[in-house]
Symmetry: C2
Subunit: 452 residues, 2 copies
């Protein structure tokens, strides 16, 4: 029997129509090459995942697990002749145990739906990638997704208590549990978190919830004439321990693109905007300390509010970034991290890279974590410009590593950054990655060509 016909007999929903398959070939990293899969499996339960992986092992067929396809590193790019295994239909919240501050969910549930369900109990799920309305928990787990609130509450890794994972050969394992502290055996949970579907397929996650802040947040925006001042203010805020629940930065290029796209009367001459927030009961005093740090480091304009509508206005520039940069041309959204006090060096260095490669780079990001997204903008349909953009992004990654940082803080390596990983990991450390991969997926069928 043809292997795909055999697969069709094993799982209820298999898509092979070329037009339908096309929608499952790429994620949001559209520059990443994608192969032509032989089929797409739309899993509806763990048994479908088990059946697919047993079949794939028997036939040596590569499997690319996939959530909503919002990834930015090509981690979900399809592989020639492989199967795309979509978890997007596994959307149940199996349990919400408010007394124990946890939820047990299927991988296809949207991040925002977990938070909405938790809200009824006065709880929330902290990790909030910008894609939170459209990305799945499974994808968040696969990439160890970050977000704006992570400066206070940590990344996805810090909110996953346990996992159910189907291995390449179809065996199902359970990691972690329902307790915050847990040292029985190796920390397999955090080995699978961020492994981009190369070690196993997550079919259930036990998530840690937190009590929702009882008081409204206080938000500020500070305008800086120099990058050094903005960087020093961020470092100063982190040193004082005011525990910002959001600490973002936009550079001059971003400010101007946002003004071009949607006028907000931002200062086009500013080197940077810093946007911060506290959600603590002490928010007014916390934010006063944060804005003092801004003023001390040369901020020329500081606006603060605890009004809900005004808060949305202050956050509007940050939120407008994605629309503004994508309106300006084709984009390559990078994702690098440095120790926070090296932010000014990183931002200055990015300006130099933009000049050297003749590209526009608009940088925005999570300043409080030292994690920013330099977005390279270039004319569409111009292969030479596209090559310059890729080389500029690579140069930014090398810059981050030179500054003691990383080529990816929250988007993952995917297929896009795999060739650049050697800048950060020495050969022996990479060999450990490959040894672990070989131990868990000896045939190499799980998301080949990604992550490591």
């Amino acid at each position: 029997m043809d292997p795909v016909d055999e697969l069709r007999a094993l799982v209820p929903r298999v898509v092979t129509d070329p037009d339908a398959v096309q929608a499952y070939r790429f994620d949001e990293a559209y520059l990443a090459p994608a192969g032509q899969p032989c089929a797409v499996v739309l899993a509806e339960r763990t048994a479908d995942v088990v059946a697919t992986l047993r079949w794939a092992t028997a036939h040596r067929v590569p499997v690319v697990p996939r959530g909503a396809g919002t990834g930015l590193s090509g981690g979900a790019a399809a592989v020639d002749g492989g199967v795309v295994l979509s978890l997007a239909r596994m959307t149940a919240i199996r349990e919400l145990d408010a007394d124990n501050l946890l939820a047990v969910v299927e991988p296809g549930v949207l991040n925002a739906d977990v938070s909405r369900a938790a809200e009824e109990y006065g709880l929330f799920y902290p990790p909030d990638p910008s894609s939170f309305e459209i990305s799945t928990i499974g994808g968040n787990v696969a990439t160890n997704a970050g977000g704006l609130r992570c400066v206070k509450y940590g990344v996805t890794r810090d909110s996953v208590l346990g996992l159910e994972v189907v291995l390449a050969d179809g065996r199902t394992v359970r990691t972690g549990g329902r307790t915050v502290k847990h040292v029985a055996g190796y920390d397999l949970t955090r080995l699978f978190v961020g492994s981009e579907g190369t070690l196993g397929v997550v079919t259930e996650a036990t998530l840690r919830l937190r009590p929702r802040p009882a008081t409204p947040p206080v938000t500020f925006v500070a305008t800086f004439p120099t990058l050094a001042g903005a960087g020093a203010a961020v470092a100063g805020i982190l040193r004082t321990g005011g525990a910002p629940s959001l600490l973002e930065l936009l550079d001059n290029t971003s400010i101007n693109l946002i003004e071009d796209h949607h006028r907000m009367d931002l200062d086009r001459t500013a080197a940077a905007l810093v946007v911060g927030q506290s959600d603590a009961p002490t928010a007014p005093a916390d934010v006063a300390r944060m804005t003092d740090a801004c003023t001390r480091h040369g901020a020329v304009d500081v606006v603060t509010t605890d009004d809900r509508a005004e808060t949305e206005m202050l956050l509007a520039a940050r939120r407008a970034h994605h629309g503004a940069v994508t309106a300006a041309g084709a984009t390559l959204i990078d994702d690098v991290g440095v120790p926070p006090a090296r932010l000014p060096d990183l931002l200055t260095g990015i300006e130099a890279v933009a000049a050297e490669y003749g590209v526009v780079i608009a940088t925005v990001g999570h300043a409080g974590d030292g994690n920013v997204h330099p977005t390279v903008i270039f004319p569409p349909n111009d292969p030479a410009a596209r090559d310059r953009a890729v080389r500029a992004a690579e140069a930014v990654c090398h810059l981050a590593v030179r500054l003691g940082g990383t080529i990816t803080g929250e988007h993952g390596v995917g297929s896009v950054k795999r060739d650049w990983l050697a800048a950060e990991l020495d050969p022996d450390t990479r060999a450990v990655h490959h040894a672990i991969k070989a131990a868990l997926d000896p045939l190499g069928i799980l998301n080949p060509g990604k992550a490591i």
Copy 2:
């Protein structure tokens, strides 16, 4: 040449004198059997570790890495014919980068010495196992040590940014880095944290520091007539989001042993004491909310203070626990975790186990994390009593697993709990552990018989 003579030529400090070796055979789990090692290496630098492991690989000699030997699960128990590799002399704080809130330290530095060094910069290192004055960072990393402050700041895993690790064959790898967010490759840092020296030997750790709270903490002690009330109060405190920086519990047996040992006028009839603290700027209001929850759930006596001397008095009972129980007989200090709302069931169940096995169990622990230490007390030099104690401890572990919990929250599996791991991990999940172990240590020379 005799292999030990060869070793002597490779590293400067090798101990073989039987009396001197004796001090390196056990950790604090003195019930755990320990073998007779052929030598103890006192490493002074990474090169000594590399040389020892290359030699051990060449000669197929087991290696037991060791810090200060304060472990409670037999993780550092020596192996017959093996080498004990002590990291206790590698005590340098190589770097303290206050601007980037991190320290780079050698594994033998004491936990308390990191905090003291950080204090000069207005920073601190959060994980605070009760052994913090005498345990090493390397040991803390090996066991993923917890502590009192972990209810707010997380365990060791949450404060380690990166590691230098020497593998079984002598290769040196670097994991993680100097950034809070980092997803370039698998999360090897957290795979090594808690692996109890079975996957590699940590020779350097990059630790995350935090700003010290600027205001004095507020502390309370609440006395409960019922376990159910104490458990409900703890769950209520966690639900309100008051962010306790300490939330401990002592049971009736503990209260009475402490009173026997050192009179403090505790209520000998109380079912439990709950001790809590907030170190936030909002501490007075936070603690008022916490004590409200206690009163609401039946606390008969609640004392609160922000005075430094009175705080020490309120914490004295908690601190006196270890001395009181060890004065009462031989002890077996257990370490189980449950989802926090299951604490009353756990405590009631522990009382039933004590009655069934005819032993005394005094329970104390980190109620806010659902992680407690039921300490089995039995007459010394009585093999039958000792056997009953071990069987009671095992029964408590099974109870915790039945309640959705774990056999170890922060002490590790070591050699003591290895046979009990099957109660928590199914065979396929355990097989993944062994596959990873085999991938990193194919000869099985690193701390054999421990952890997994």
